[in-house]
Assembly symmetry: C2
């Protein structure tokens, strides 16, 4: 990960469970006081630990955040044999995971931190790249089934779906119901014209009418 390089290095004699206590405290502080109240000093106070101890194990606030986030393991998403169900299930469980554990707050904080710390941004970029690849596998499986065309950009589809999740996390809209999630995924997979109920002539008419009404 690159954010906690020297951790558990060879020379380290011991680390009883103070590290775990610190991670516990960090999570608690983050949940109770929010990102604005999340400081190394606050974590140290809560863990009854010294600041130098924290700095010995984590080089930055973000590294600590990242470790806290990764402690909360995420459920792996089953292969339903159908891309839409795969993606809806993914969003559903991700939303509830973010809502019902402290993961949501922590990940929000990580994204915020990345906006003011380039090294965090780099780590976050690498992490999300991996996540996108993972989500993209759902599309790849659909390709293998012949469900979608082989030239579909799986990463881009993952990007669209993950982007939807990110902004809903960042703007306190994790309460979207399954119908909305399914509709959103449906748009990406089948488009908004999917059932062909639209008069093609009208569409063609609309496309030709390009002139005029510029400034809006």
């Amino acid at each position: 990960m690159g954010l906690d390089p020297g951790r558990r290095s060879i020379g380290a004699r011991r680390n009883p469970d103070s590290a775990d206590a610190i991670l516990d405290a960090a999570e608690a502080v983050l949940v109770e006081a929010g990102y604005s109240g999340f400081s190394i000093e606050a974590v140290a106070r809560r863990a009854r630990a010294g600041k130098p101890t924290i700095y010995r194990w984590w080089p930055s606030k973000a590294a600590l955040l990242f470790d806290v986030y990764q402690r909360l393991k995420r459920v792996d998403h089953p292969d339903t044999g159908n891309l839409e169900d795969d993606l809806v299930g993914f969003l559903k469980s991700l939303f509830s995971h973010w809502r019902e554990t402290s993961s949501g707050s922590i990940f929000r904080s990580l994204i915020a931190e990345a906006q003011s710390d380039a090294t965090v941004a780099a780590v976050l970029a690498e992490y999300t790249k991996g996540r996108h690849a993972h989500t993209g596998q759902m599309v790849e499986r659909a390709k293998a089934r012949g469900e979608v065309a082989a030239d579909v950009d799986a990463t881009l589809v993952a990007d669209l779906v993950a982007s939807f999740a990110w902004t809903h996390l960042l703007t306190n809209r994790l309460d979207a119901d399954e119908t909305t999630l399914r509709r959103a995924v449906g748009y990406v997979l089948k488009g908004i014209e999917a059932d062909g109920s639209v008069d093609p002539a009208a569409v063609r008419r609309g496309r030709r009418r390009v002139i005029g009404r510029v400034t809006g």
Copy 2:
């Protein structure tokens, strides 16, 4: 907006251009030092102004940020008569606007700030709600043209497109070329099965049946 309530109130005698100088300084500090270097004291130093002057006019750092952002007017997007072109043009000009002015840095900072300040989050939510409505108008126009079904959720489409823009801003990926933007918009409008030659039977097999679509 609610973030700068007393500004230019009746009793205010004058505000020569110190306010503008402060906004200029704020923008400059943000561009040169980034969000992490953006502090009221730094802005005051740069503007050769006193901190109380800044606090007299803006109640918080975020309010100042918001004013700086709104000073940079955005081009209104022309009606091309075609939804795909409307949305691609929207993304293209938004990306270049974020890339080539300081708007990108500022908006990133606003989003980050919203993660630790609830009042900022509320203002940002209202702002983006309005932006979504604006983007949704493109879909509504397409409905009026008969280009898309009348029961399409215009806000949700706007949400998908804007989410894509947000995450690309937040993860330093504003360099997407027009092909990628067009492909992303194409997925949302026409689905991922539209751009390739795929066996329709296989598609239908994988697809869930859509029932009861109401036509306009």
